[in-house]
């Protein structure tokens, strides 16, 4: 699954809310308004979900984000990929793969 993970989006049917940030390196609570499900997530997961929530709030902007766009200090591509994979496996997010361009490369 990790190799297919190219873009991430909030899983259809979920409407997520994050708790306040309770301190540097501290875990956060993540809540789905539609189901009442909640999770405790680490800092990297908070960052990913936060970025997706910000993206979906902005009008006219794509609601999914690529791994490459998400990778930022202090997290590497690999760390973002690993955390993203866990979030997909938990049913919080969903992965979206991109069709290859004319050269056969995936964006």
């Amino acid at each position: 699954m990790a190799q297919d993970l190219q873009r991430l989006a909030v899983r259809r049917g979920r409407q997520l809310a994050l708790s306040p940030c309770w301190g540097r390196d501290a875990p956060s609570a993540l809540f789905d308004r539609n189901s009442g499900d909640y999770w405790i997530v680490g800092e990297a997961a908070r960052y990913i979900v936060g970025a997706l929530l910000d993206a979906s709030a902005a009008p006219g902007v794509a609601r999914d984000i690529s791994i490459a766009e998400l990778s930022t200090f202090p997290w590497s591509d690999e760390e973002i990929m690993a955390v993203g994979t866990e979030l997909v496996a938990s049913g919080i997010l969903e992965s979206k793969s991109c069709p290859p361009d004319a050269s056969g490369r995936h964006r």
């Binding site: 309770w22 875990p27 609570a29 809540f31 009442g36 405790i40």
Partner: protein
């Protein structure tokens, strides 16, 4: 009996033919404001006799709220504790606009401590010891009522429900006003301790949450106190939320906001004195 009472923050109408219930209400709610006819009523409670044969043979009591019958009948001799349990259920499931948690709440001044009621916590005994021996203001021994608009905790002072061994312990506390014991209930022997007058006088004064403490009683254990992360406290406290489904994201935001303003702890204690000592350590470390 047909009375309308202000039991903050709610208005309750109670109708009952049972003498035990009348005595219980007089004893524990005698200082509550009686409301005039025509007052808005949040909950209309009726305790009524059993149906058919059970009116006279093995007489029963039934609890109705707003003309609905949510429970199975109990022996008529348990009508008074049934009123307390039923009103707890009613507040937990039917209060509109408040997030309600299964927890004891007390305050020093307006600074409130929340003690969630996991099994084995010893919550009610600890609550009684803080209120009767240490002078904490009693909000409730059972229900933390959180106002999402203000972030305040609202007092809901009602008699402390004790069961089995805790009755013997608390009956020794100076100032404890204990009602009769009710035997053979589904919780064993139960009894009720009256709310101190000072707590009743301040029943309309809210408190600000300052400490969230998860107690656990282990007989003979030395007192331990540990500060825990907010996310861990969230995972624990939301299990004690009675109406989280109905409150939805308003309840989530209210709980998160509360957690952002409190320090969270777990404590293990092995005696009344140890429980009080643990709370002193927590409260003392915040000043």
């Amino acid at each position: 009996m047909d009375i309308r009472l202000r039991i903050p923050p709610f208005n309750v109408r109670l109708q009952s033919p049972f003498d035990d219930v009348a005595r219980h209400v007089q004893r524990h709610y005698g200082s509550c404001e009686a409301l005039p006819l025509g007052s808005f009523i949040d909950f209309h409670v009726r305790l009524v006799p059993g149906q058919g044969l059970h009116r006279i043979w093995r007489p029963q009591a039934r609890f109705l709220v707003d003309d609905q019958n949510p429970f199975i009948p109990l022996p008529a001799a348990q009508a008074a504790p049934m009123f307390e349990w039923g009103l707890n259920w009613t507040v937990a499931s039917r209060s509109l606009g408040y997030a309600v948690l299964h927890a004891a709440v007390l305050a020093q001044g307006d600074d409130a401590i929340i003690l969630p009621g996991f099994p084995g916590a010893g919550k009610s005994t600890l609550c009684a010891s803080l209120c009767l021996l240490e002078g904490w203001r009693l909000f409730s021994d059972e229900l933390a009522i959180l106002d999402p608009d203000t972030g305040n905790l609202l007092p809901h002072p009602r008699p402390i429900n004790l069961k089995n061994r805790s009755i013997d312990i608390v009956s020794q506390f100076r100032g404890a006003s204990l009602g009769p014991r009710f035997h053979d209930t589904r919780k064993g022997t139960v009894a009720h301790v009256g709310v101190p007058d000072a707590s009743m006088r301040l029943a309309d004064r809210p408190g600000r949450p300052r400490w969230l403490v998860f107690p656990r009683y282990e007989e003979g254990a030395a007192t331990q106190v540990e500060e825990i992360p907010h996310a861990e406290a969230f995972a624990l406290i939301q299990q004690q939320s009675f109406n989280k489904e109905r409150m939805g994201d308003v309840g989530f935001d209210a709980l998160c906001s509360m957690l952002s303003n409190v320090r969270c702890y777990s404590t293990v204690y092995g005696s009344t004195k140890g429980g009080i000592e643990g709370i002193h350590r927590i409260v003392g470390s915040s000043h």
